[in-house]
Amino acid sequence: MRRALLSLLPIFAAMAAGPEAKVKLPTGRADLVRGEKLFEGQCALCHGPKGVGGRGPMLTRAKLLHAPDDKALVQTISDGIRGTEMPGAGAMSDHEIQQVAAYVRSLGKIPPQAVPGNAAHGSEIYHAKGCTGCHEISGAGGISAPNLDGIGASRSAAFLRESLVDPGAAVPEGYLLVTVVPKNGEKVTGVRVNEDSFSIQLQDSAGRSHSFWKSEVTQIDKQRGKSPMPSFKGQLSDAELTDLVAYLASLKETK
């Protein structure tokens, strides 16, 4: 089998069901148990154990953004979501995908836990602490850090809190801080935008782009697991952190 298989196979899973076929998810206890086992093995790495969220969105919700109905849910698990980190489930059969879908739906029936804190006060903290210098919400703010529109829908409160106190533990996939020391000129630190065997492109905290031929630099220092974001541990009180998380958790809509 070829490299592209994992991304393309789900098309067959969808084809086999037929474009108009209505999806009926399995309801048996054994199906849900199997669905959970598959979920824990292949999905929980991002969506967290029992779908509580993590690198990927929390799934303990009755309504899922990309899966308004069961057919869409099966399709999303099968094909992934283009333009996001969500891959297609190349390692599962049609039936297994349906078992996982059934398990995911069962998560949505668990009553959601309300996020504590005062979101309005959290918004004030967000602006007062300079988060807007790097992050963008609703078109306002910097561009050197991840955009936070809809972050409350894609990250759990626990993950958001961890991101604030230990930013290095929550670096998004593909996000890499790099310092390049050119043979001639000043060293540059920024987020990696692109890289191949011969060149590397960075964007610095001011949003400026930099491109280097690797043959013309003396050092490329990749700071894996590091984030340019400062930790707010000790900078904010526990109550302030709770309020800031409440604000971020309230950002449900992607603009």
Partner: protein
Amino acid sequence: MRRLIWLLAPAALLAQTNVPYERIRDAAKEPGNWLTYSRDYTGQRYSPLDQIHTGNVGKLHIAWVRQVNELDAFETSPIVVDGTLFISEPPNAVVALDAATGRSLWRYQKELPSDLRLCCGKVNRGLAILGDTLYYASTDAHLIALDARTGRVRWDVTMAGYKLGYSGTGAPLAVKDKIITGMAGGEFGTRGFIDAYDAKTGKRAWRFKTIPEKGEPGNETWAGESWKTGSATAWVTGVYDPDTNTVLWGTGNPGPDWNGDVRKGDNLFSDCLVALDLDTGVKKWHFQYTPHDVNDWDSTQTPILVDGTVQGQPRKMVVLANRNGFYYSLDRITGKFIAGRPYVKQTWASGLDEAGRAIRVPNSEPSVEGTLIWPSLAGGSNWYSSTYNPKTNLYYVNVKEMAAVYHNGDATYRAGAAFNGGGQRDYKEEDPYGAVRALDVVTGQLRWEYKLHAPSHAGLMSTAGGLIFGSNSSSFFALDAQKGDLLWRFETGGGIDANPISYMSGGKQYVVIPSGHALFVFGLD
């Protein structure tokens, strides 16, 4: 005026296109042509041209580009005959191009059914030529003979039913009066075969079934009825040894790919190299690289025939760097193992025994929870070409250093549906990377490497100009074959999933690589 003659010359020669078997067998006499998939029957993908060499390759630049209006990967390896390039291009077309200018001479396209079962897109890796006929294994599993002068169909035979998941993706191999071809469909529970057809009539001369029937030797290596849906496809072009009249061809993964519980046993002749008599298709020997494969490590890549020296004795070898992470040299007369070793990081086997059989590490099989193994399903290398350069006596391979977490799962066969029994997810704790590695041709021992940022999925070619041409992501580059130094590179702007070739037209050497949705042809001033 002289320039005008060059431009006209290919058209004049086109009318005379004639490539009898002897021309392909004696390809060394025609360094400027590329008459079969790997240039000659050895599979070495070595060009004897040296006009472009280590001293001037830095001045290589675009000569012409051919665009394709399709989004599927462009994997063709052109045939070049006396000033004409013949290529396959997605979705299901064959084109003749003037080798000097890139201008199209004719185009054939076969309409495709809408309900194809393909694992990996409408890809095709090239053509065969014999006499004045081109041979094309089409996406819907037909073998088609085209008049090389016009692109008109001479005959069209169905190899197998596409609705069951069979397809054609590899270049056929023309030998004597036969056209040899394999097939693809290893993710659909197909039953693999290698076919020979009469070049004139299209009548099938023989079929070697890569999974033996009940009662035939080897069938006992499949538990129960699992042999009926065991895949073992043959989707990349093999080689031919004129000395022994033997076709050597690789076979793919057993099906379902990742769930071995439903097909216990060694699963012969999956993941094998099989040596077949050209006249009869009867198997002379086989060597299985990955017995009872549960990681989808097809062994279909083109093997390379090398006449070498082992412990002071001349030895006729067949060598390859397998997708399972090990390099192997075999005696190609007997199929016996000579030497082997890992050429990338691998964690599934503790080594090879005296017969070359891998000793599997316990608990290395895919699991529901996921099992971390090096290499990934894409392998230490893959279908794309390795190359052997007789001037350096080195084997060159574009490697992938990457792991995967393998899962197994349901394995219920339904005709025409994907039959995988699991899959893999990327392992992200360590960055994967690639490299071009030069290996000792007998032992596989590393001589040098040129490290690449990402694993490549594209082949290599070596030349008498002391060069190795290869690709990484969207870059096409040339290395010094002796030392591995980078000498030239070009950013094509599209992903490269193909093998390079080189040819001569109008007294000038060109180098060709498909990339993205275009064919790039490079030359000197």
